[in-house]
């Protein structure tokens, strides 16, 4: 029973050294189009403007994202009122990545209708959701894995612009989110990108850290006790 506690603790503390962790500032999941093909990437706007392939950057979501579901219209994808959630808000919080979805590299007049960003796969310890907010605060759900992944899990984006949405997770841990862009180019016709996988690292609240570390300590104690019990 104690061994499984070690696994999440290790998952939280082992870094991926070859990746850039983005903890704050404006950053976009960018969509470009070159040589008749979509180019999905990460476009960091501040503190330095730089670009990464999807797998090269990790969106590190700190404890400032921790909150609870307000219930009501949010219940269907964030859980009942009081359920813990981690949210990257569509409004800027200086302690969190300000994640947008950018199509500014596309020439608007080259496209018919919106660009669609479709969810293809998610791996992680909890559910993953993206939603907008109406002028009076009602959630406008775009993507949610609560009911699995369907063709309806997609984000419409206006070419030549960018948008901000709320991105939510139901549990801390590492998530891999695979997205695919599609749209109708006026000359090249309907185009679909290769799938691109983005990484999110949701850091638990301090209380959850304490739970994970206590599990880590309990696991270490268990290993030590096993070692002491082995015949010499």
């Amino acid at each position: 029973m104690k061994l499984p506690l070690i696994v999440p603790a290790l998952t939280l503390v082992i870094p991926a050294f070859s990746q850039t962790f983005i903890q704050s500032g404006h950053v976009d999941i960018g969509i470009g189009y070159e040589d008749k093909a979509f180019d999905l990437h990460v476009h960091q706007e501040e503190p330095l403007e730089q670009e990464f392939a999807p797998g090269e950057a990790v969106f590190a979501i700190g404890s400032a994202a921790a909150g609870v579901s307000p219930g009501g219209a949010f219940t269907s994808f964030l859980g009942a009122s009081g359920t813990p959630v981690w949210v990257l808000p569509s409004t800027e919080n200086s302690q969190l990545p300000f994640l947008g979805f950018g199509t500014e590299e596309l020439t608007a007049s080259d496209w018919s209708g919106n660009i669609t960003l479709s969810l293809k796969a998610v791996s992680g310890p909890g559910t993953f959701s993206i939603w907008g907010t109406s002028g009076f605060g009602a959630p406008e759900l775009k993507i949610s894995t609560v009911d699995g992944i369907t063709a309806g899990d997609r984000l419409p984006l206006v070419p030549g612009s960018h948008g901000h949405f709320n991105v939510g997770f139901s549990a801390p841990g590492d998530y891999s989110v695979t997205l695919e862009a599609s749209g109708t180019h006026l000359i090249d016709g309907f185009r679909t990108s290769d799938p691109a996988t983005y990484r999110f690292q949701v850091i638990p609240e301090p209380s959850t850290w304490a739970l994970a570390l206590s599990g880590f300590a309990a696991g270490a104690l268990w290993l030590r006790q096993r070692g002491q019990q082995r015949p010499q």
């Binding site: 949010f74 949210v87 808000p89 569509s90 608007a108 907010t133 605060g137 206006v158 612009s161 939510g168």
Partner: protein, 294 residues
């Protein structure tokens, strides 16, 4: 002088014909520097803070048009708010307005039918937390409000003119960033919101001028389009003048026989009448001008 007015049931239009332009033996050519206001409808724009060290004020507020990649002076720009922006305020949002009343909302989330209006300090090299935006006054029939929601629906109202505007109506602008808010106007018509930005660096304040942002909220009261002509800056130049409802598109046409008309690109009425320079020479037939508004 207006000599003919045309109204149709399907489309209310106004045709104005200037007959006083019978300038025998004068060739007229319309200048290419005709300037109307730019109408913002459904693109992504930011009210952007820029440095203007050569001017009276260190800071300026302009519209950054991301679609055209240009900065536009706010005085030459009209924000169109169509009827599709009209919502009814639900219970629980009294901070924005009375429940059950109308509010025209440009939302913080992009709606392709409406202007996606943000606030930007991108490109500014100033210390963090040094910029604040103030709403100074509102001229026109509508009350003005600005608000945001956090990810789980928590409401934060920044500007609300309904209870008066004072120093508490301020928006902190992170430097080198941008943000989007819900923008609300309570009545149709023409409402101008005067904004001012302040930078505080090392205990010293720098201000932008009070900057007007004109919202044209549908349905607009229709005013007749008026076309006039007057002397220009020199003997060989005249100046056409078009006025009407700000935000209204107008098209100028010219003819030499009142039968064949040449149409020029549409212009938009703004804060000031549209001025169109007209060059004249000695050997041309008479020219007639008319202006049309859909």
């Amino acid at each position: 002088m207006r000599v003919k007015t045309h109204y149709s049931r399907r489309r209310t239009g106004v045709l104005c014909l200037v007959s006083g332009l019978l300038m025998t033996a004068a060739r007229l050519a319309l200048g290419d520097d005709a300037r109307g206001s730019y109408l913002l409808t459904n693109e992504h724009v930011d009210l952007k803070v820029i440095l203007a060290p050569e001017g009276t004020n260190l800071l300026q507020l302009v519209f950054r048009d991301h679609l055209q990649s240009v900065d536009r002076p706010t005085r030459e720009t009209v924000v169109r708010v169509p009827e599709t922006a009209r919502l009814t305020i639900p219970e629980g949002f009294e901070a924005v307005g009375p429940a059950g009343s109308d509010l025209w909302v440009l939302p913080a989330g992009q709606d392709p039918r409406l202007l996606y209006l943000g606030f930007s300090t991108e490109g500014l090299n100033l210390p963090p937390q040094s910029l604040e935006l103030f709403a100074r006054r509102v001229d026109g029939p509508a009350q003005f409000a600005l608000w945001q929601f956090d990810g789980t629906g928590g409401l934060s109202v920044t500007f609300q003119s309904r209870d008066g505007l004072d120093e508490t109506d301020r928006l902190r602008l992170p430097t080198g960033a941008h943000q989007h808010h819900n923008v609300g106007l309570s009545k149709p018509g023409l409402t101008t919101v005067w904004l001012q930005v302040r930078a505080t660096v090392g205990g010293t304040n720098a201000w932008s001028p009070e900057t007007p942002v004109l919202f044209a909220v549908d349905p607009l009261p229709k005013e007749p389009v008026r076309l006039g002509i007057g002397p220009g800056p020199s003997e060989e130049r005249w100046r056409l003048s078009i006025s009407g409802t700000p935000g209204q598109a107008v098209t100028l046409e010219e003819s030499i026989d009142l039968i064949h008309w040449t149409q020029r690109p549409a212009l938009t009425n703004g804060f000031q009448p549209i001025q169109i320079p007209v060059a004249s020479t000695q050997d041309s037939p008479a020219r007639f001008f008319r202006v049309h508004s859909p």
